[in-house]
Symmetry: C2
Subunit: 390 residues, 2 copies
Amino acid sequence: MHIRKQRLLTPGPTPLYPPAMHAMMASDIHHRTQDFRNVYAAALADLKEVLGTSNDVLMFAASGTGGMDASVSNLFSRGDKVIVCCAGKFGERWVEIAKAYGLDATVLKVEYGDAVSVSAVRAALDAEPSTKGVFVQASETSTGAAHDIQGMAAAVAATDAILVVDGITGIGTMPLDIDGWGIDVLIGGSQKSFMIPPGLAFLSVSKKAWTLSETATLPHFYFDLKKEKKNADKGESTWTPATSLILALGEALKYVKGLGMANLVANAQLLALAARAACTELGLELFAPGSPGSSVTSVKAPKGMDSSVIVKELRTRFGAIITNGQGSMKGRIFRIAHLGYFDFWDLFAMVAGLETILYANGIPVEFGRGVAAVQRVYAGAAIQLPVAVG
Amino acid sequence: MHIRKQRLLTPGPTPLYPPAMHAMMASDIHHRTQDFRNVYAAALADLKEVLGTSNDVLMFAASGTGGMDASVSNLFSRGDKVIVCCAGKFGERWVEIAKAYGLDATVLKVEYGDAVSVSAVRAALDAEPSTKGVFVQASETSTGAAHDIQGMAAAVAATDAILVVDGITGIGTMPLDIDGWGIDVLIGGSQKSFMIPPGLAFLSVSKKAWTLSETATLPHFYFDLKKEKKNADKGESTWTPATSLILALGEALKYVKGLGMANLVANAQLLALAARAACTELGLELFAPGSPGSSVTSVKAPKGMDSSVIVKELRTRFGAIITNGQGSMKGRIFRIAHLGYFDFWDLFAMVAGLETILYANGIPVEFGRGVAAVQRVYAGAAIQLPVAVG
């Protein structure tokens, strides 16, 4: 038996930002006090700033799926025609929500690992001019593929429909210009690039989306965007807020503001580039080579090997928790996460650990070869050194 | 700017064991209650168990140096003849303490990087039969060298002197059989293999040491071994105990007991072996090749390079805090720690980071070559997998 630290390295929950965790200790605060109103208002303002939008930004005590639910139940009516882009497990979740609320959904489905094209969305919009909404994942976490949100936004902007983007793992891993591109609703979750535990969902809501809400008739109670907006303007949440998570969020947002959202995105993108280089160098096949996102890098297990073995041995040998494929991909792929609080030190060890496990399972591998690919990406990127601290 | 997590990787404070840190949150406890007496008594009992001794084990709110002070001020008298083994900065501390208390010390001094031999101790004891004590570091943290404590104990046991061992970084990195070898006083500190923050010193005290205390006349007040023993037997500390650290210690000791002290030692030794292999592979020269300990591996900077650059760039590029040489060794060596809560994942990244920094400073280095040496040691050690957890 040897020491084996537990390390949370999944695409959500992502590694936690320590000062945010320490901030949770200040939870002996009551949510209906001016002290907490200040915390809440600051968190909402900082969230708006890092998302870089002038749209309203609201928050719920909920998982990201709660944000997805809210976007449907507040903005649509039974029988509304919508388009759902479905490129994986989370696209399927949009399909399920649309079905639960009785929307009339046209599903643009592609194979796992592929992305729905802008032209497919455009064609579907052309085919049905009364379409009220288009639903898509910015980053499809289950496969690692990313969608062309800028292109889709341009297609949707020319119609009466709104674009509803699940940005849960897209935020912080790809540019998402809410105002510039015209993303009507963007949904985020605390346990992703925000580096804190699960429990908070965020939504940005455009004027066009608010207009749609005026005629929407689907029933809802907990997730009430209008009521939430009215209370948020007073520094309050409608229902009891998850105070500990909001205290953590405040700290994490300070960090993200200091780093800069563009740098957070660049960090994930550079790590993803390095991970792809390492896997290719090790002879491993990428799962979404055509449109790889930077939230996770999905990698196929070597021929004859179950990816579950890699996931399991990273845990049992090194205490490193990563994710297997989801649904039908389970056993076929494993996923290396990059979103949020990840750095090169993490990736150095991840690739060395992966090489060690492949070797232990009889896969021909040259020790250090994948790590060297990561080091070359680091060296080549000429990463700017922060000002020396003495 | 990119993400750069802060990672404490020094030989003390060592990386913290998270459940121990969480336990500190239960500090809203009063130290003169039965609840706390139970915590304190359990910590002392567990400490005794992991140290594997039937001797008394006491604890002080103090740094390790406080434990060293206590061993002198409680067991000796002004003018007592003692032998001090001095192989580095911590050996020099023994010399200073002996001088502060007016002991008549014979100093066995060796070059930094070397260790004092058993034969030198034996010769000094033969030369002065009235010697009351021999002071030594099990592991000289400033250089990485280790002493032959078993050999020294055998030499001292044949005399009236007691052997006082600074085990602050020796505990958990080398076998130290207190009862079997006859270590009269062994001193430890919380921020080393015990994986918690600084603030607690531990001492084991043998019958022979207690006997010496009966005739000892040096003044002392805070560090009173007899009073502490009397109170410890009632589950109390004499003065106000550092409750948060003791709560943390309780958790850490549960972990060390579960792992087993022998495995904790083997873990550090294997990591040290791998670190030496990596450095040698990278063409770096070890600083204490003759008697390398497993608490830290001291490595000389490449010719023409200041080791401070390596230490600084590990921090500025990767947020990794390691230690420079101390005293006259500053700028000449850097030290990779292994004691306590360190694992192979840490070392994979450490060596990859080191390679990257050498390359960035114009030192010829083949990326991944040192990492591969670590991987080979890991693979060769046939590390036993824990029972799969599903």
